[in-house]
Amino acid sequence: MRISIAEDSALLRAGLTELLTGRGHQVLTAVDNADDLLASVEMQAPDVVIMDNRMPPTHTNEGIQAALVLRRTHPDVGVLVLSQYVETRYASALFGGTPSGTGYLLKDRVADVATFIQALVRIAAGETVLDPEVVRQLMSVSNRPAGLQRLTPREQSVIELMAQGRTNAGICAELFLSAGAVEKNITAIFSKLGLEPSGGDHRRVLAVLKYLEHA
């Protein structure tokens, strides 16, 4: 993969570069602010960019802002926003438009190198990656829309995993369920959310979006 990085901590910038190049990926640019990264994307067309959320000048949500710009100007470039904290508003801003090719992860997740790299691959392939913590917050009692409130605990864990971008097989493994049981749960979720059958994966994205838009 061709990857660009914006991260204001020099230590992490170097660490990420080392980690990714060590696994045969190409780090095109590693800068310490969002503006330089946006400028470099024009020239280099990376597959995916990794963006720290909190960078100069205001140290609040530069990463999310730049990600939104990038989604608009370069929808084909995947964006992964890394954040020290999970903020509901940032997540709904980030996923409110077109969530494909977008990711939002807690910074700690880079420690699980295999999963982190896998997340990057998925984002580059146009999938959505959500931190489990983000999902937990978005699914929290205050945000849950009416349809989602009728889900059973089991169905809830299933839709949470769906939102994190897991496949049916991934959900089976995570919840120790048979493929048939997962299938049954997903059908129940679709019907509770009022999603008519119209071709498998399409409804899957709609179900995930359903609660994102209510966040």
Partner: protein
Amino acid sequence: MPAFFKRTTWRAFAYHWAMLLLVPFGFTYAILTISLGASLLVTIVGLSVAAAMVMGARSWGRLQRALAGSLLEQHVEAPPRLVRRPGFMGFIRSGLGDASGWRALAHMLVSFATTLVASLLSITFLVTGLGCLTYWYWVQWLPLQQATDGSWHRGTSIGSNIYAEGPTWNLVYVAVGLLFTFLLWPAINNGLARLQGMLAAGLLGPTEAQLRVKSVEERRKHTVQDADARLAQIERDLHDGTQAQLVAIAMKLGDARDRLADKDIEENIKSLLTSAQGTASDALSDLRSLASGIRPAVINDGLDTALESLVAAAPMPVSLTYSLASRPGPAIEAIAYFCAAELLNNAAKHSSGTRITLKVATANHGKLLVLSVLDDGIGGVDPTAGSGITGLKARAANVDGTLDISSPRGGPTEITLSLPLS
């Protein structure tokens, strides 16, 4: 230059005239306040009328300070702004307890008497002086008077059978006129104006105590802001330094573990790496909750954003209404955030309710931020039990805020935090 020709003298004279025209209104207002207030005192309406009139007296102070400032160059500092407490009873209490309003009323009464004396004295001395100066001219229109010896005279009579006529008397009058116009009148006029200015300064400015409170308040405000800025700095340093370092450690350990996964090395070395990585991750999440307890970074992005995340993470359904048009200062935002966090936590833990309503709005024409947390639980919150509520009260009091609790047994509980916006 003689004082007679100086601007200040004539401005002071204008001041006397302005006061002469104004004091009847002030006097009437004061008498009206006292008589209305006294006769209606037993009724709640009477109290509110009196409260409004005491507060209204501050306008007199404002007018008088402007007058003294522009005509006497006597700068009188304004007393501290009236902080009106919320609610109807708050209105009455703040009105009747408004020392500056009462002092303005006192000024209305006292200045009525002093102004009459001062302006009349000044006018009399000036008119006397000018009259004597021009005596030689207007004496020709005086009526003829007959002395006891039968002779006719034209001139003012001074004692029996002495009439001021002829050039000598004219000269005497001019001399007296000069004395009054150029020496006595300016001295009396300016001296009395200065006394009037001192009266205004004494009654319409801030008292010693108010000045001291003001300086203490300023200093405390700086302390609170300083402390908030320092906490924000500590949080930033933690984020930029320790947290980044821990992430880097965890990442490198993860990297090493990943690379060694399919290598043939001792299993306990691998588990060593795994546990080291786990420890680093735990440290990270501990540090995260520590840092957000110090001062969540998201507050920098606005109280609304911070509260949204807080509500989302709450263990109970919370509906949030946020209606502030502009952002409060960072210290106020931090206090509001921490109080909201504590109150949501309390409600979720102790209220046995099912829903919480969190509202943030302004009151008193944008001078107050009001944050209220309402739950449909069992009520009976004891404001003295536990350090939680007491701590919040102290936190609010740091910036002259208040925390009011309404929690009848059986519910509902509403806790309202009011913080001044300046």
